[in-house]
């Protein structure tokens, strides 16, 4: 689709849809100027176009053709776990019995919703080795903030006000330091060692009585398992801190090991990564947060509880004096939780163990297939994702990671995550996920090897890529210097 799509505001206006969509008003409209007073009312109508239904449909349908989704082809965006989003889960989330319930309905009228959330909590407790989950956070980073707030509340409840430092590895996602900073923590960075793992000696030196805790991703953002995780969480606990598990890479460990058993006190999940809920071009997500019992008093409220008198009935408990409060309105991204629940039901214990197995197997296989074509910075065995770099291509042919990523688009594949983690130069992070097909894996490997060859023979092919999309490379500097953010 090479043609340009106008903005919706540029379409010729053909009249309004109001009478087609809405019923006629069956009460008399009062004189609004009299009721509200002129000073409150708008003088002119809104400046938004009146369009016909077919105009709107064509507009957005044509725009959608300029997007790439998981159903188009491999989407090996590392750390994002772009696996298949089961269709039936969309149908389930849209069941009218879920869709048409208001968040403030009396709890006796939403027992189906509360049962689902309660069951999902039990499942997640099992899968991650935690004691409780809250579904209030709307996304992974929101979950991080919620978890960090609970850690802060825990230290405050112990009158431990001097614990103001959060330890974070230099390979961490940017959200970790950003979330900790929102809760007023000072960030102390821990170095990675030559193998790409937390440098435990460096960690020991950075532990003192000011630490509130540590935020760790495992497997880490280099796709490597932190083997010394038990020692790390032990050291933190000994020093009076708590351990936070960033669940971004949980797809690699499903039913193999559990953050709870690694010694973590708080866990957040990105359900679009681990449990296949669609990412929607940026959201909506859900970021359930799991905790160990010591943090229970601080959970956001309300908490779903079984009724004492009748164990088959659920209520929302607001009477929680030590709660951190609320991190958003109502109980959370409910319909995203419905999809998560349906996903877990589709797999069961054995199935989830196969998810992590397939995720790791696919990453390992792909890495071996391209190992001779690209620089591999770390030799520890990769888990569900791996990093290669454009170091060789850059040195010899002036080809950078961006060029390789953009050339992959010409082959019909979504690029990997690029230039992350920040500690690796020219990084490309690939995560094929558990639902990648054989032909997808082989095709990706063939394309990457072919691109490495093209870099030697015809570097311009890479530098000018992509060649077949609706646009060529956009000028991002211009976008930031002279921001045009609306029309």
């Amino acid at each position: 689709m090479k043609y340009q799509t106008n903005l919706i505001f540029d379409l010729p206006q053909t009249g309004d849809n109001a009478n087609r969509i809405l019923k006629k008003c069956d009460v008399i409209k009062p004189n609004f100027a009299e009721f509200y007073g002129e000073h409150l009312l708008r003088e002119k109508d809104l400046n938004i176009p009146n369009l016909s239904e077919i105009q709107v449909l064509r507009h957005y349908t044509n725009m959608s053709a300029k997007n790439f989704g998981v159903e188009n082809g491999p989407y090996p965006l590392g750390s994002c776990t772009m696996k298949y989003n089961p269709k039936v889960n969309e149908n389930m989330a849209n069941l009218p019995g879920f869709r048409n319930t208001h968040p403030l309905q009396p709890t006796e009228t939403v027992q189906g919703n509360l049962t689902l959330l309660y069951n999902l909590e039990q499942q997640l407790n099992d899968i991650f080795g935690m004691d409780h989950f809250t579904f209030q956070p709307s996304a992974g980073a929101h979950g991080e903030l919620t978890g960090i707030m609970m850690i802060k509340a825990y230290h405050e409840a112990n009158e431990d006000f001097e614990r103001t430092v959060m330890l974070i590895p230099d390979s961490a996602h940017g959200t970790n330091p950003a979330s900790a900073a929102m809760a007023e923590f000072e960030i102390r960075e821990i170095k990675s060692n030559a193998d790409g793992l937390v440098d435990v000696e460096d960690l020991k030196q950075k532990i003192d009585d000011k630490i509130a805790g540590i935020m760790l991703t495992n497997p880490n953002t280099l796709g490597l398992f932190e083997k010394e995780v038990k020692e790390i969480t032990g050291l933190i606990h000994e020093a009076g801190g708590l351990c936070y598990y960033d669940g971004a890479n949980a797809n690699a460990i499903l039913m193999q090991t559990r953050p709870g058993d690694m010694g973590f006190d708080v866990v957040h999940l990105n359900v679009h990564k681990t449990f296949g809920t669609p990412h929607g071009g940026g959201g909506p997500g859900a970021g359930p947060v799991g905790i160990k019992k010591i943090l229970e008093p601080f959970l956001p409220k309300p908490v779903i509880k079984k009724l004492d008198a009748d164990q088959t009935k659920f209520i929302l408990d607001y009477d929680r004096p030590q709660s951190i409060g609320k991190v958003r309105a109502f109980t959370g991204s409910f319909s995203v939780c419905v999809k998560t629940y349906a996903y877990i039901l589709a797999y069961g214990k054995q199935g989830l163990a196969e998810v992590s197995e397939a995720a790791v197997a696919n990453a390992r296989y792909l890495l071996e297939r391209v190992r001779d074509s690209y620089h591999v910075p770390y030799q520890e065995p990769a888990m569900h994702e791996f990093i290669i770099t454009a170091a060789w291509q850059k040195e010899k042919y002036g080809i950078i990671t961006t060029d390789i990523a953009k050339r992959l688009i010409d082959y019909g594949y979504h690029p990997p995550t690029v230039y992350f983690p920040l500690i690796v130069q020219e990084a490309m992070m690939f995560e094929p996920t558990d639902t990648e097909t054989l032909e997808g894996l082989e095709g990706l490997a063939d394309a990457l090897n072919a691109i490495a060859k093209e870099a030697t023979e015809n570097p311009d092919l890479l530098k000018n890529a992509p060649h077949n999309m609706s646009i060529t490379r956009p000028d991002e500097t211009k976008a930031a210097r002279n921001p045009i953010l609306k029309v």
Binding site: V27, I48, G97, H102, G282, P300, K326, A479
Partner: protein
């Protein structure tokens, strides 16, 4: 092959062997002491369920709920049951919008990026402000982020919030501000249920925030907010309702610095409260301090118009702990849904939705007062929601319980005797007439209020 995994274990083992690896060694990096050995957990099935079984289980759960399309509901208080045109689900169900990631690779994401750009444009046109972000979790977190923005901009650490704000939003602001070590001062409403005359003085505030229409449905006069804010060198923030802006003056028109709120009323299903979609818009001067993703227009190497994520120097993946917020998720798909709602309804449709909602709320209010059983708690004009009080006392909880037996979900009981009721354009005159008659009958003849 379990669930949706497309390869068999045998094939997987074969693939790995072809490159010198073994299926059994995949997890060798995990120390034995933390490997799961006993998978005998309580909450999980051993085996996955078939698609048919999943449908049966979830349908059963869904049917255990009572729903607003089968009951006559008067709940609002932040989430409103407006009509969602059929087109919306069809478009946002397209996998190209549904399954794609945050548009980091612009060449492969022009659909999402243009949709966000159009959302930003609509939000600016509705709120009358200069810059909008690509959306934010919900109305409550948008209010918290808006106030944090005032603190960043002014380098002051205290804000003032009118109690006319939705209590769920207020609770969220308190949580965010406590964690950040910042102070929230709450201003009680005046006797007429508005913020007029309640603003504090002093230049130690970063921002003043009011909601309009406020929690009791009353349309606030934002002029005083702007005046007081300017006098005290404070940023003004309004948490507003986008549908109401088809009728009322916009925050930007009046001179407000920041508008935020919840866009769920724009055709997003209730879904038991989530996902929601918050918006945040501000004057130009605040652009580089905004939280969240922002899409911008630029050109490609051939000069064609292109869209990209921009002003990323504000964000966590670049600035880490110095970022304007930790937020990375937008509600892109729902923002797109809301944009389609605005495109389909247009200015005429949105105005009609607003006017019908207001007209019906006024109708219901008057009918309830005419029964002689209720009185208005405030006599200021409201939009689609209002609070009434039982004239002779009693328990609204008991009334609400009784109403359920008649397939009616009553208003929100704010206390024993104060009832908050909301209606939208979907509500019919007949439903309201029947409701008022039922309420009057239950109180007069069945003594449901007790006493």
């Amino acid at each position: 092959m379990s669930g949706y995994i497309p390869t068999s274990r045998e094939k997987r083992a074969e693939l790995l062997e072809s490159v010198g690896l073994k299926l059994d060694n995949l997890f060798d990096a995990i120390p034995d002491e933390i490997k799961i050995k006993d998978k005998n957990f309580s909450g999980l099935n051993a085996q996955g369920l078939s698609e048919q079984e999943i449908i049966a289980q979830l349908t059963n759960l869904a049917e255990r709920n009572q729903r607003v399309d089968q009951y006559d509901s008067y709940l609002g208080a932040g989430f409103y049951d407006h009509y969602s045109p059929a087109v919306i689900d069809h478009i946002i169900g397209r996998q190209e919008f549904l399954t794609s990631y945050t548009p980091y690779q612009a060449e492969m994401s022009q659909g999402t990026l243009q949709a966000i750009f159009e959302w930003q444009s609509y939000i600016c046109r509705l709120t009358g402000l200069d810059v909008s972000n690509s959306s934010i979790y919900d109305g409550a977190s948008a209010a918290a982020e808006a106030l944090l923005l005032t603190c960043r901009q002014t380098k002051k650490d205290k804000v003032w919030v009118s109690e006319g704000l939705n209590p769920e939003y207020l609770a969220t602001i308190k949580t965010y501000f406590h964690a950040a070590g910042l102070e929230v001062e709450i201003g009680a409403l005046n006797e007429q249920g508005t913020a007029a005359g309640t603003y504090p003085s002093g230049d130690d505030y970063a921002g003043f925030l009011i909601q309009s229409p406020n929690f009791f449905g009353i349309v606030e006069d934002m002029r005083e907010l702007v005046k007081k804010a300017e006098q005290n060198q404070v940023l003004s923030v309004v948490s507003c309702d986008l549908i109401s802006l088809a009728m009322f003056k916009s925050p930007g028109e009046v001179g407000v610095d920041i508008a935020c709120g919840e866009a769920q009323p724009l055709g997003i299903p209730l879904n038991f409260g989530g996902p929601a979609v918050g918006f945040l818009a501000a004057k130009q001067k605040l652009m580089r301090k905004m939280p969240g993703r922002i899409a911008g227009q630029t050109t490609d190497t051939e000069g064609k118009i292109a869209y990209v994520l921009t002003l990323q120097a504000r964000e966590q993946h670049i600035r880490r702990e110095k970022a304007t917020s930790n937020i990375c998720t937008s509600q892109a798909l729902l923002a797109t849904a809301a944009t389609i709602y605005l495109a389909l309804n247009g200015r005429s449709g949105l105005k009609e939705v607003a006017e019908q909602s207001a007209a019906k709320a006024i109708y219901l209010h008057n009918k309830l007062i005419q029964t002689g059983l209720f009185e208005a708690i405030y006599n200021k004009p409201f939009f689609r929601e209002f609070a009434v009080k039982l004239r002779y006392g009693g328990s609204l909880d008991a009334l609400n319980k009784k109403l359920l037996e008649h397939r009616v979900i009553g208003g929100l009981a704010l206390s024993d005797d104060v009832w908050l009721l909301a209606v939208t354009e979907k509500k019919s005159k007949k439903a309201m007439d029947d409701f008022v008659a039922l309420v009057a009958n239950l109180i007069r003849h069945e003594n449901v209020l007790g006493g």
